[in-house]
């Protein structure tokens, strides 16, 4: 075994251990996050147990903590955002990878990815001063018969679930579309050629490619979902920060990340702090599961990278990350 022989050299061992320590550090950080969050939420876990998740009362003054309203707000806003952004993101991915002329691809990729480069806080600022007033005017214009539907009931505040879902959907478009684009790239050209040879129209050939890539596409959508769940600043600034559970798009609500951003630095006692950390812990676990699942799906596409220019590899690696 020549490998064993090489490994026995002292400088070889030193190199492996020396670099391995840094890799270990990286692993330790991830484990550390899980351990630290659990340790710092022990008080709350012991005090409330499972009821923490099914209680919608959040009253720091009386020391009553239930996270149900925040979980609701996070899931509701993320699912709404997904519903809005998925068709758009997939449309963009299809357009760029299947339809656009070759010269237009690079600029289009660049422009859609600009959306990912804009900081969350800038989305929030724009949300407060541009989107929220616009949404309020929409809400004011709601006809009476529509207001009778629970989805559109409530006073026209502007801030609320609708604004949050809109901002979120804009923010996750680039993530979903760039992964979906990569996945479509991995579909063998023969699939499309075969479809065309059988007399398929353009859309029918694209549908073949989409079907071939379905697991990866689901992965791409889930990756966007993971982003939406953890998004903090923009949501905090437009969702209204009111812990209530409501189907209404107009109602100000709250999310897990937003309550952390707003209340963490002000948590006056240990129980309060631990309750907040527990929300962070659950956010950590949920996003972890979603991300691992989506990566498994994307990998299962068997993306065998073709030789690509260095710049593309570097940027793609960074963007995937």
């Amino acid at each position: 075994m020549p490998r064993r022989l090489i490994a026995a050299r002292p400088d070889e061992v030193a190199f492996r251990i020396g670099t391995g320590v840094f890799a270990l550090l990286l692993i330790a950080i991830v484990l550390g996050i899980g351990i630290e969050l659990t340790r710092e939420s022990m008080l709350s876990i012991k005090e409330f147990g499972l009821s923490f998740w099914f209680n919608d009362k959040w009253d720091p003054v009386l020391g009553e903590f239930g996270a149900k309203a925040f979980i609701w707000g996070t899931l509701y806003s993320s699912i709404l955002a997904l519903a809005i952004s998925t068709p758009i993101a997939l449309g963009i991915a299809i357009f760029i990878s299947e339809l656009a002329p070759a010269w237009a691809r690079r600029p289009l990729v660049f422009v859609t990815e600009l959306l990912a480069a804009i900081p969350s806080i800038v989305y929030g600022l724009w949300g407060i001063f541009v989107l929220v007033p616009f949404v309020r005017s929409l809400e004011l214009a709601t006809p009476a018969w529509m207001k009778a539907i629970p989805l559109f009931s409530g006073p026209p505040l502007g801030v609320g679930m609708l604004s949050a879902a809109l901002v979120l959907s804009i923010m996750i478009i680039p993530f979903t579309s760039s992964v979906a684009r990569e996945v479509l790239r991995a579909v063998p050209q023969a699939q499309r050629e075969g479809a065309y040879a059988l007399g398929a129209t353009r859309w029918e050939a694209i549908r073949m490619a989409l079907f071939y890539a379905r697991t990866g596409i689901v992965g791409a959508v889930m990756l966007g979902f993971g982003r939406a769940l953890g998004e903090t600043m923009a949501v905090t600034m437009v969702i209204g920060n009111n812990p209530q559970i409501s189907w209404s798009l107009y109602a100000p609500q709250y999310s897990m990340a937003a309550v952390l951003a707003n209340e963490f630095a002000e948590a006056a006692n240990d129980l309060y702090l631990h309750a907040l950390v527990e929300i962070g812990l659950v956010l950590f676990i949920i996003t972890l599961v979603i991300n691992v699942l989506s990566r498994i799906l994307i990998w299962s596409m068997g993306r065998q990278p073709k030789p690509r220019p260095v710049r593309t590899v570097a940027i793609a690696a960074a963007e995937r990350a």
Partner: protein, 282 residues
């Protein structure tokens, strides 16, 4: 006549996909438009050179926040660079091993962790024990966000370097460490620089992990162990406050942030442009 219907459907889908691109471009254009117009009219020299004024007084700037942001970002980079690059070296040098896969998995996991959760973690390990918000804590939080990105780019780019380069060095009697750090790593450097710049672009706009690590500071501070003001947190504070003049400054701050982020990602693309030409030509 089914074929006509199928063709019509096909055209419709093509049209819808094109429309999807336009739909995404509208908010992008709107955001950039507002940031640039509102930002430009609010941006002046005072913004860069003056301190925040007390509530109610107009004028002033974000000099302390700009310095604070640069400080926190530098601390993050100093923290993240060695861990990211060297663990990337490990993962590419020992790519078949289980430990390398675990490292890669850890990096991908860390990447998906919401930034606010990283803030909570750093609060627990770097703020709570010292009972003190600090610039270092903020830097560590940002650094943790940079690590996976740097690690993954380093790894992928090292794998692109032709094996013969390393073998040549080894054949001349170099140790593995020598071969990697003086031959392979420099060959991949422009690509790694791209990765680092992109990771900087990503953390330069981060607010959530700084809220309860670096916190905020009304005053000018360059102390590593004191809370420090940063551009992003300052923009947040100003944007949710009820003062017109603060809103104006928030837009100015947003413009500066967007410029910073775009400069980083532009530099990232330039860094590899030459290398890419070489590869294409070669």
């Amino acid at each position: 006549m089914r074929i006509r219907w199928r063709k019509a459907l096909s055209h419709l889908v093509v049209l819808l996909c094109g429309a999807a691109v336009l739909v995404a471009l509208v908010p992008l254009a709107l955001i950039l438009f507002y940031v640039v117009t509102q930002g430009l009219t609010s941006l002046n020299l005072d913004f860069f050179t003056h301190m925040p004024t007390p509530v109610g007084e107009t004028g002033g700037g974000m000099a302390n926040s700009i310095v604070g942001s640069l400080m926190v970002i530098s601390i993050g980079a100093i923290f993240a660079l060695p861990i990211g690059i060297i663990s990337g070296v490990y993962a590419s040098e020992y790519k078949g091993t289980r430990f390398a896969s675990v490292t890669r998995f850890a990096a991908d996991t860390l990447n998906g962790v919401p930034s606010i959760v990283i803030g909570v973690f750093v609060y627990g390990v770097a703020v709570l024990p010292f009972r003190q918000f600090s610039a270092v804590a903020g830097g560590v939080a940002l650094g943790i966000m940079m690590i996976p990105l740097i690690m993954r780019t380093t790894e992928e780019l090292l794998l692109l370097v032709p094996l013969s380069l390393k073998e040549g060095a080894l054949a001349l009697g170099a140790t593995r460490a020598r071969a990697v750090f003086t031959v392979v790593l420099p060959a991949a450097l422009p690509g790694i620089v791209t990765g680092v710049l992109l990771s900087l672009a990503r953390i330069a706009g981060e607010t959530a992990p700084l809220l309860f690590t670096a916190f905020n500071n009304r005053y000018f501070s360059t102390s590593l162990t004191q809370p420090v003001s940063t551009l992003t947190v300052q923009v947040y504070t100003y944007s949710i406050a009820p003062y017109q003049d603060w809103h104006r400054q928030a837009w100015a701050g947003a413009l500066v942030l967007v410029m910073m982020v775009l400069t980083c990602s532009l530099l990232a693309r330039i860094a590899t442009a030459r290398l890419e030409r070489l590869h294409r030509g070669g």
